[in-house]
């Protein structure tokens, strides 16, 4: 019998499934429509469509947009917040800043807890963790009674300086549970995120409380549906940091599983790149409305300590660091009042979609430009599922061309150049700006539009190779299949190195490590699969952001602390290009972090036995426009599904498959490796490294 690892990625439009049998190497992939609002039917449909039986499932992991969507669409619980007396507007005020200095019509998005449900309690802890006002338990009980009468479904507790002393929050939680009943949803900021900065901590715990009832019921329902289908085993859920947690753990920290979809995509890109021999990859996923870019160095994705749902709703959980920019197939090109050609940020999305969809949008989009330039096949767009009208694309671009006094072809290629410049700039931001040389990386392209743009972007940044996986549409599910179980624990340290209490630091790490071990035990991870990673967040005292430094072990003496400082200083210099004098800037340890990891076996993807003549995969030719020649060139078209391992194709060429189109411009050379990845040498020994520099734009405009 097969023993399948199954990963399901639930997106807004499609539910993707990838299943893998380690014994045979068999890999199944399935795409089915998602089934909002519950999404659960889509999971069962995917399992059935894949022909998997319940007893074949060894492990079931899944990623879902449900948490993210609940926040974006404001469909979370009716939530209350308990805070220190006097601090009722920490959440509402946020950091009071705006994304654009001149746009005073910009409005922040409403906080997840409206002011009326923020209740104050007398208590106060100072910055060192001393109690300067005892907790007034009557205030807490009064708040609980108000919440009860208002039918509040979930409560967050966030007191000032609670990260230094959590007792008041813990006692508050006990009282709330007493008053509201044991089944009530209550979470505290010191539990969820014991980190300095009251707004960011409060925002995180409020989001968590807001999601608790939603995710709890979702997991109940999914668990029940899977049991009914016949699967009794553990259910794992992916989180923003590129790991999974058990469903049980996710119920307590649902904010952690927001933003998990993009994380799956990055891990998937890492896996695909690794198979083709690249340990350093930049993942590039471009769909209908936006493009996500992320950097993976030495098979480790870059983590950011925070991410934002909206400008004013930060969530401070480690998240795969990605840059999202508003450039997708539906991005609209237009000419502004000053006569400048612009691409985005408006998008026609999937509905009404590009002008060629003939669903009411008359403005030219990036897809229309590709279609006009011959890069997309009007006969088999999306495998022929969608009928498109090229003459509408041409008319839309022609209207733009008239305003610009340019040819239609130059206008269409100009639209793409501008979009490419925006994406190049974003790529520059995550690579060069962070001290990485793009020449050491491969670009892994996914999404319906990614493989159309990848070579151009790679060339701008002197990235030598582009990799397009065989099924770019399920990269995220593939990533989920691959990720480890991972819990991230954190404790504040906030000590300058010169005052560092090494013994206290050791105790902090001991406590976190014990907690981590307990978690792994509770999740039944066998010893040989347990891994504990130690790290610290460090910065120059006085600065706000910090860097995470991996530790082999907890420093036990001054020499080991010195080496930690040296490590920090060299990373800092690498990233920012200079060093601060030691007498000016002392290093501060901000947080101690411990990751509890349950290691998953690497997924060995099958190699292809497919053979055949490359010419047999050639299905014809059509006129395609390339910037390199500034004209339409008769270009061979290949069918991806018939390309065998070892095939080589010199650009110009177009490779078509049902879910995307790969553009191989003149001067580039594509080859197919044994995993059926298309690997493109972007300059194919021709042009020796053009003067490379990022061309770009501020993201999003």
């Amino acid at each position: 019998m097969r023993r399948l690892k199954v990963a399901v990625d639930i997106g807004g439009t499609f539910t993707d499934l990838v299943a893998h049998d380690a014994q045979s190497g068999e890999l199944l992939t399935v795409k089915t429509p998602s089934t909002p609002p519950s999404f659960i039917d889509g999971v069962i449909n995917a399992l059935e469509k894949a022909g998997i039986t319940p007893d074949e499932v060894a492990i079931f992991k899944h990623g879902s947009t449900i948490a993210t969507n609940a926040i974006i669409e404001r469909r979370g619980a009716k939530t209350g917040l308990v805070t220190t007396k006097g601090f009722r507007d920490v959440l509402g005020a946020g950091r009071a800043n705006r994304p654009d200095l001149f746009n005073s019509n910009w409005d922040p998005s409403p906080p997840l807890v409206p002011r009326r449900h923020v209740l104050e309690v007398r208590e106060r802890v100072d910055y060192e963790g001393n109690v300067i006002e005892e907790l007034d338990e009557d205030d807490v009980r009064a708040a609980a009674r108000k919440f009860k009468r208002r039918e509040i479904e979930s409560v967050a507790v966030a007191y000032i300086n609670s990260f230094m002393r959590p007792e008041h929050e813990r006692r508050t939680k006990e009282i709330l549970l007493e008053e509201l009943g044991d089944g009530a949803f209550v979470c505290t900021s010191s539990d969820i995120l014991p980190e300095i900065r009251e707004f960011e901590r409060t925002s995180t715990v409020a989001a968590n409380a807001y999601l608790m009832p939603v995710i709890d019921s979702y997991i109940d329902k999914l668990g029940a549906a899977l049991r009914e289908w016949g699967y009794e085993g553990e259910l794992y859920v992916t989180h923003s940091g590129g790991g999974v947690v058990t469903a049980r753990a996710a119920r307590g920290v649902p904010a952690r599983i927001c933003h998990s979809g993009p994380a799956g995509g990055v891990i998937g890109g890492l896996l695909v790149g690794g198979l083709s021999g690249f340990d350093n990859v930049i993942t590039f996923d471009m769909g209908g409305t936006s493009a996500d870019l992320a950097l993976v160095h030495d098979r480790e994705p870059t983590l950011s300590p925070e991410w934002r749902v909206d400008w004013n709703i930060p969530i401070l959980f480690p998240a795969i660091d990605l840059v999202a920019i508003g450039a997708g197939g539906g991005t609209i090109a237009w000419v502004d009042a000053g006569g400048s050609l612009r691409a985005g940020p408006q998008s026609a999305g999937a509905d009404p979609g590009p002008a060629c969809f003939d669903k009411g949008n008359l403005d030219p989009t990036i897809t229309d430009a590709h279609l006009y330039l011959g890069r997309l096949n009007p006969e088999s767009y999306l495998g022929g599922d969608l009928e498109i009208r090229p003459e509408l694309a041409e008319a839309a671009i022609a209207r733009l061309a008239e305003k610009l006094d340019l040819s239609v072809a130059k206008t269409a290629s100009g639209v793409l150049r501008i979009a490419n410049a925006n994406m190049t700039s974003a790529t520059h931001l995550i690579s060069v700006e962070r001290g990485h040389d793009p020449r050491d990386f491969a670009l892994v392209a996914g999404g319906g539009a990614g493989p159309l743009h990848a070579v151009e972007i790679a060339r701008e940044l002197r990235i030598p190779q582009v990799v397009v996986p065989p099924t770019p549409g399920v990269t995220s599910a593939l990533g989920i299949l691959h990720v480890d179980l991972r819990h991230d624990l954190l404790a504040p340290v906030l000590q300058q190195i010169k005052h560092l209490d090494i013994e206290a630091l050791r105790r902090t790490f001991d406590r976190l490590t014990a907690e981590a071990t307990g978690i792994l035990a509770a999740e039944s991870i066998p010893d040989e699969r347990r891994s504990i990673e130690l790290s610290v967040d460090a910065r120059y005292y006085g600065q706000t952001p910090y860097m995470n430094l991996r530790l082999d072990r907890v420093p036990t003496n001054a020499a080991e602390v010195d080496s930690l400082v040296a490590d920090y200083r060299s990373r800092y210099e690498n990233e920012f290009g200079y060093q601060l004098p030691e007498d000016v800037a002392t290093v501060e340890i901000v947080n101690a972090r411990v990751a509890a990891i349950g290691v998953t076996d690497d997924v060995e993807l099958p190699t292809s036995e497919r053979s055949g003549d490359t010419e047999a995969a050639r299905k014809g030719a059509r006129a395609v426009y390339f910037d390199e020649t500034a004209e339409f060139t008769d270009t061979p078209i290949y069918d991806r599904s018939r390309l065998a391992a070892g095939a080589r194709i010199d650009g110009p060429a177009v490779i078509e498959q049902t879910d995307t189109t790969v553009l191989v411009p003149p001067g580039a050379r594509a080859s197919v490796d044994r995993y059926l990845n298309v690997v493109i040498e972007v300059s194919a020994g021709g042009d020796p490294a053009p003067a490379g520099v990022a061309v770009g734009a501020a993201k999003g405009e």
């Binding site: 507007d89 994304p99 654009d100 108000k146 931001l429 706000t544």
Partner: protein, 644 residues
């Protein structure tokens, strides 16, 4: 539309006027923005003072060799970049010859800046021996010496009693610091060691701009990049003139007031007045009607007048961002030397921002607002919270280290002609700035914060109300000296179209005790003892339209959220609300009572004037509720700012 000036004579002829092809143009225009954003992000990341790392008080820009602004960072601070043209133009006059890998430090307000704290480091950028651009990186240093912690000096009558003033000085040669210059600076400012981080950050930001810009020169060639500068400016000018051309020709006047000139015996208020003339696509802003320069630190020199005029303009046309010389050259600004908006040395200027800058900015927006209200009322704003510069300093009782802290308060945004103002809103001209977390401040300075909480009833009232101000109060835990330089305690942020002015800025020591003292907006070296309580509160924003025409449901929402008292709901908005069960949030509106209350209010015998909560006479006379734009229908969604 009449012809533009010589430089923009092709302005209306469309894309044909571009030097580069439209694609290269757009790529380069975006590139200039992105370079500045990257350099700004670097400063935020590696600077030291919370003012900068948490508060974002810094800017980065690219200028041409003759000192024309090309681009700036998206979250930078408007007062800074609006003076950069003057800075570079003066630098070029002062320095005979530039060389690669140099950087100049410069903060003189009269020739090229704002106030002494805004310290610029300017880097000439060369390509093959030719000067092709300047990069400026500015940080607000928390202290540049002088008698007061933080350098703000409300009692100064001359700039010599404020802080260190620097002409352009070469601080870096061959990318190495010029030690005697740095030593001179270090000897004249507080906590100079901390500023080393800022200097490094500012210098490094210039290097980054250079590397990135030269990358484009390498790729496109110098001529295309230079053409890109010109195209970028022409493009903005075309778009701006296109807008101006759509507005009705005419003369638009407005005025606003500073609370008082502390330097004069009777402390008179200070008038700021503008006459804006729109003639075709030409605009002139005439500030000659402003009062003479005050004796105390409130006014500013001509570079900052330009900056404030540009900022007010850009808020009405935000799609033109980033600001560049194309907009600058399309605005003619007239002023008289020796007035409060065109002061000369040695009139003090540390308080320029809370003083003249806020008023010029607000008056500029009100002038544009008159022209825009029939064309696009979405661009009309009542006045927003006024900055209070709030500096504390002393010796930390636990560490024995000297400290200086500089902070400010967010407050209420002015109402828009279609929506409420947001609460807890950063001052209009520093939208990229942030507040500073209490928990961070407490670790640095000897104080325990006691509130981050709305000032109830502080909104300017109207059909659309202004946003609410905030209390950020603290108890001192060590002896501390306090300097406050603010404004709008006596003159509220103005309302429009019959909306009332927003609530006052406030600094009160030990309220509710025998030792209560209103320190007010011009506090010099107040000594706080350990245990003293300081209440620090901010303006509400001005309202728009008549309060008794506000939707009853919106008034009720504010009451439920605890932002508006039942008394104010009744007395000002004419909404009779019974608190049936506050714990369960059950409130009832008495409709009959409300109807008669509103009928009585409609007789409108409210006090007219500039004080908080009075009805601003000019704002009432010159602005009306826009018709025909469906603002009523749109109110349900548009007014929900979600911040209470």
């Amino acid at each position: 539309m009449q012809g533009a000036t010589a430089t923009a004579s092709s302005a209306t002829s469309g894309a044909g006027a571009l030097r580069n092809d439209p694609i290269t143009f757009e790529v380069l225009r975006n590139a200039f923005k992105s370079i500045c954003n990257e350099a700004s992000a670097l400063i935020e990341r590696v600077s030291y003072a919370p003012t900068i790392t948490e508060g974002h008080d810094y800017s980065v820009s690219i200028l041409t060799p003759d000192g024309r602004l090309v681009s700036h960072g998206q979250r930078d601070q408007a007062p800074h970049m609006g003076t950069f043209e003057s800075s570079v133009q003066n630098l070029v006059r002062e320095v005979e010859e530039f060389a690669p890998n140099e950087a100049y430090i410069y903060n003189d307000p009269y020739t090229g800046g704002t106030h002494q704290n805004d310290v610029k480091i300017i880097r000439p950028i060369f390509w093959e021996g030719e000067l092709v651009a300047f990069a400026i990186a500015l940080c607000h240093w928390p202290d540049v010496g002088g008698p007061m912690y933080g350098t703000f000096n409300p009692r100064a009558t001359e700039c010599y009693a404020e802080g260190l003033r620097m002409p352009p000085l070469k601080l870096y040669e061959d990318d190495r610091p010029v030690k005697p210059i740095w030593d001179l600076i270090a000897m004249n400012i507080r906590v100079p060691k901390e500023r080393v981080a800022e200097i490094h950050a500012q210098h490094r930001a210039g290097v980054l701009v250079e590397e990135r810009l030269l990358g484009y020169v390498e790729k496109f060639g110098l001529e295309m990049v230079k053409d890109g500068f010109e195209d970028t400016m022409d493009h903005s000018e075309r778009r701006f003139r296109e807008w101006v051309g759509r507005l009705p020709d005419g003369t638009y006047e407005f005025e606003d007031w500073g609370d008082r000139d502390l330097g004069k015996e009777d402390e008179p208020p200070i008038r700021v007045h503008c006459t804006m003339t729109i003639d075709g696509d030409q605009v002139t802003m005439d500030w000659t009607g402003c009062d003479p320069a005050p004796i105390a630190s409130w006014g500013f020199a001509r570079p900052a007048l330009q900056s404030a005029s540009y900022d007010g303009t850009m808020h009405c046309f935000p799609e033109l961002a980033p600001l560049n010389h194309g907009v600058v050259r399309a605005i003619e600004i007239i002023s008289t030397k020796g007035t409060c908006v065109d002061v000369v040395e040695p009139t003090p200027v540390t308080g320029y921002c809370s003083g003249a800058y806020e008023k010029v900015d607000a008056v500029t927006m009100a002038c544009w607002g008159q022209a825009l209200q029939r064309v696009d009322p979405h661009r009309v704003h009542a006045a927003t919270v006024n900055l209070q510069n709030f500096c504390t300093g002393g010796t930390h009782p636990k560490t024995g280290a000297k400290f200086v802290s500089y902070m400010w308060l967010e407050g209420g945004q002015g109402a828009r002609a279609y929506a409420d103002g947001n609460s807890f809103y950063m001052m209009i001209f520093i939208g990229g700035a942030s507040n500073q977390p209490n928990e961070t401040l407490e670790r640095w300075y000897p104080m325990v914060y006691t509130s981050t909480e709305a000032v109830v009833d502080s909104c300017g009232d109207g059909e659309y109300r202004g946003g609410f101000g905030i209390w950020r109060s603290f108890r001192a835990t060590g002896d501390t000296e306090l300097v406050v330089l603010g404004d709008r305690e006596r003159v509220g942020p103005f309302g429009l179209a019959g909306g009332s002015n927003g609530g006052p800025n406030m600094v009160v020591l030990n309220p509710g005790t025998d030792a209560e003292e209103n320190l007010g907006m011009f506090t010099t070296k107040a000594r706080l003892r350990s245990g003293d309580q300081l209440e620090f509160g901010s303006n509400g924003g001005g309202g728009y339209g008549r309060p008794w025409e506000r939707r009853v449901e919106s008034v009720l929402e504010d009451v439920i959220d605890g932002l508006l008292s039942l008394e104010k709901a009744r007395g000002t908005y004419g909404v009779a609300i019974d608190e049936v069960d506050a714990d369960a949030l059950v409130y009832e509106v008495d409709e009959n009572d409300t109807r008669s209350l509103r009928e009585a209010l409609a007789k409108d015998d409210r006090p007219r004037g500039t004080a908080p909560f009075e009805v601003h006479p000019l704002g009432e006379q010159l602005f009306s509720r826009p018709d025909g734009l469906g603002t009523r229908a749109g109110q349900a969604t548009a007014s929900g700012n979600g911040r209470g």
